[in-house]
């Protein structure tokens, strides 16, 4: 998804673009999430600013390319609290987000079931985030690549990138792949969870690691959940860095009728083993939030690996170690949502490089710098 967005915005900027994809379109990290475009779960800071920009861009993409083509739904998010402490924390969190430009609506306990009639009784209240959206990520990646191709980009699938060739002053001169040598003055590493490994082969490592998550899929239903609904604990879980299993329930209906139930987080490398314990916990939490789901069958479970960095921020922009190398990876669970903003910023930097000008970007990318980790490591005691 992120790569498709980079290709789209680069092609729109008039750059000559070649996309090399190891698998079929959208078969990596893109197909393993729920298609979230969220501002609701972001702490005030650089990632929230990126998310606010990105949700605006998603709406534009919907207008430009046809929202129906990738099931873009401005459905809104509803965060609910089960206890007093969680309710207080959620209110404070929402106020700080609002100060940064997020639209928030406080929902009293007796207003929750007007919004979501199947919600369990006894919840203490919530916050509605009208800016949250959902998209079908594989369709969206395909739509952006199609649009990029109509602007002159080339897309080649089934091609393994093996490295880069560097010329004068160490600058990127070409990409080397299983399909040969591709001359290029700029290369974007948009390889999701494999971004760390690919960056290492380019001689500019970034610490992108896998954080496993499961998503449960119910049988198709009539619309029983209107929005993305999740518990206030989710935000704390996303921000945590523990290795062990964390689950906090996220429930949403899809256009296809299935209800998706997430979200688990655990650091177990690229272990794809099905965890019955995770499935059991997520299902139980979902039923506590939406008791109606107790009478619904699970159809399947899928899993994937979020590309996470130790500071939970993505890696975006030019890499000072290798002139011509750009990164667009490490978005953890937010890659679909943050893809357009990432693509726009990276394309802007590359265009400025091509023009020999200073990049005039919609957002400062310093917080996402690929070399920020080197500085952090240098400060650690030996």
């Amino acid at each position: 998804m992120v790569g498709a967005a980079c290709a789209y915005y680069a092609a729109r900027a008039g750059l000559d673009v070649l996309v090399l994809d190891r698998g079929p379109v959208g078969s990596g990290t893109t197909s393993r999430g729920e298609g979230n475009i969220l501002v609701s779960d972001k702490e005030p800071g650089p990632e929230l600013d990126l998310a606010l920009l990105s949700q605006r861009l998603w709406r534009e993409l919907g207008e430009d390319l046809g929202a129906e083509a990738f099931e873009l739904e401005p459905k809104g998010g509803l965060v609910v609290a089960t206890g007093d402490a969680a309710m207080d924390a959620l209110r404070g969190f929402a106020q700080r987000q609002a100060a940064r430009g997020v639209e928030v609506e406080q929902v009293p306990a007796d207003g929750l079931r007007d919004l979501e009639p199947h919600l369990a009784p006894g919840l203490l209240g919530g916050v509605l985030y009208p800016q949250d959206l959902q998209v079908m990520p594989v369709l969206a990646a395909a739509a952006l690549l199609r649009a990029a191709r109509s602007l002159g980009a080339q897309v080649r699938t089934g091609v393994d990138v093996q490295g880069i060739e560097r010329g004068d002053a160490g600058a990127v001169r070409a990409v080397v792949s299983s399909a040969g040598r591709h001359p290029a003055s700029a290369v974007v590493n948009a390889t999701g969870t494999w971004g760390g490994a690919v960056a290492a082969t380019f001689g500019a490592p970034v610490p992108v690691l896998p954080r496993r998550g499961f998503v449960l899929v119910t049988e198709p239903l009539a619309r029983v959940v209107r929005r993305k609904v999740y518990s206030a604990d989710y935000v704390a879980n996303v921000a945590a860095s523990t290795e062990g299993l964390e689950t906090s329930v996220v429930v949403e209906g899809t256009r296809g009728g299935t209800v998706l139930i997430g979200a688990s987080r655990e650091r177990v490398g690229f272990d794809e083993t099905l965890s019955v314990e995770v499935v059991r916990r997520l299902a139980a939490q979902a039923v506590r939030l939406f008791p109606v789901l107790a009478g619904v069958n699970l159809m399947r479970v899928y899993r994937g690996f979020r590309p996470y960095c130790p500071d939970h921020l993505p890696v975006i922009g030019a890499d000072a170690r290798v002139p011509g190398l750009y990164h667009a990876c490490g978005h953890e669970g937010a890659g679909i949502g943050l893809a357009p903003a990432t693509g726009l910023l990276v394309a802007g930097q590359i265009q400025a490089q091509a023009d020999g000008a200073l990049a005039d970007l919609a957002l400062d990318v310093a917080a996402f710098s690929p070399t920020r980790f080197a500085a952090a490591h240098a400060q650690e005691p030996a």
Binding site: E219, A222, R223, V224, V292, V296
Partner: protein
């Protein structure tokens, strides 16, 4: 001896160990569900529990996979329209 289950107002014979879906097909019934959006007929597709195309209502519980559900004497099997859970819609 052949046992039977009910499919709507018909009596469908089955052999021990046969699934509901297999018995229906053997009785010449090839579709028992209509799709959610366009109302198109559906029956067995993969036949091995993966595709969820052959959904059917058994004893009042919708969305059972006919290809996996074992036929038993006296089951009340009915064709399914839409999601089978339209009463839950909000």
């Amino acid at each position: 001896m052949t046992s039977t289950f009910r499919f709507g107002d018909r009596s469908v014979p089955f052999r021990d160990g046969q699934t509901v879906g297999a018995a229906l097909v053997a009785a010449g019934i090839r579709s028992w569900r209509t799709t959610r959006v366009q109302g198109r007929p559906r029956g067995l597709f993969c036949g091995i529990g993966i595709c969820f195309d052959c959904l059917i209502s058994i004893d009042g519980t919708p969305n059972q996979r006919a290809c996996l559900a074992l036929a038993r004497p006296g089951l009340q099997v009915t064709a399914q329209e839409g999601t089978g859970h339209d009463d839950l819609a909000v």
